[in-house]
Symmetry: C2
């Protein structure tokens, strides 16, 4: 019973960190904010994460990585056609942004951009996330018959473009950058068939 409860608390702390850093970045998120948001004592935050904020950021980025990977996998599996999968992904991201009132952008980049240089483990966690997403998109394209090199290159641009379009949509408070990105990525994918 106790072990189960401890797992619950740890996970709540990771999710709270991810949510807060997604909105306020690394520097804008304090351990007290995390403890409050997770409904956990500050003592338990230190207990589970003796490495402090850097360790929490690494875990939170891992959580964001996992979340976005799940969305990518679900949409790419649902849509057989890889071009249609691009517009479907864009639609999902646009709906998520609008539904969160333009608050919840990419959980990885907001935390990583400003802290990656000072804290190598944070940059490495973000790099693992990008590599994971890249692999998911590349594998879908390879399964759809694209040669490995074409699929690998396309996967870079798919990840970069969704990242950039989500950020632009958040700043502009408009889904247009994501809607247009979906259409153009579909067209780009199609142009290699």
């Amino acid at each position: 019973m106790r072990a189960k409860q401890e797992v619950g608390t740890r996970e709540r702390i990771v999710r709270a960190t991810s949510r807060l850093m997604q909105r306020h970045g690394y520097e804008g998120t304090g351990l007290k904010d995390i403890s409050r948001e997770a409904q956990a004592t500050l003592g338990s935050v230190y207990h589970f994460f003796p490495g402090g904020k850097v360790e929490l950021a690494v875990e939170a980025i891992g959580h964001g990585d996992h979340e976005f990977a799940g969305l990518l996998r679900t949409v790419l599996e649902r849509e057989d056609d890889p071009a249609a999968a691009m517009t479907a992904c864009a639609r999902e991201l646009a709906a998520g942004m609008r539904d969160s009132d333009w608050m919840d952008g990419c959980p990885v980049t907001t935390a990583a951009l400003e802290s990656a240089r000072r804290f190598p483990p944070v940059r490495e966690a973000a790099e693992r996330a990008f590599e994971n997403w890249h692999g998911i998109v590349r594998d879908k394209l390879v399964r759809s018959g694209f040669p490995d090199d074409v699929a690998g290159d396309l996967a870079h641009t798919v990840v970069s473009t969704f990242e950039g379009a989500e950020m632009t949509a958040q700043i502009m408070r408009s889904t247009t950058p994501l809607d247009v990105a979906g259409t153009h990525l579909a067209r780009l994918v199609d142009s290699y068939r």
Copy 2:
């Protein structure tokens, strides 16, 4: 003489803020850091920017907007062919990232992402920057003969993709995402001719 010197100090403070926020974000940049980096007294920082850090961030984002707009205009004017202009832009951005040892990413997004939600003037400054860059790319495409709506949509994806690819390149410490983005944007532009 005095007026001239004051202009110099104000500009030094804006540039220092831009450079620091580009690397450490909004929250990671303190007024004391700005004063030190600008070689200006804390008193002069308050004198020129009575609105404090929010006002400084807005000015710094305006400075970053102007800098990236200058790079875009220079490259787009140098390359007559709009597809070739895409790969040339990507090359410039990649060189800048590598030369700064992966430190200097987009001066607008790093400052804006984590603070846009809490400080509306910061978000608005970032929105003006995106609109400015979008207009520069759209105008180049219209001058190259693309219909207004096609040019407007393409300009969204060009800005989003460069943003995302620059961020990914910074995290991965590799120019590959930018190199590939340039090739794909050129192909996309070409596909509408």
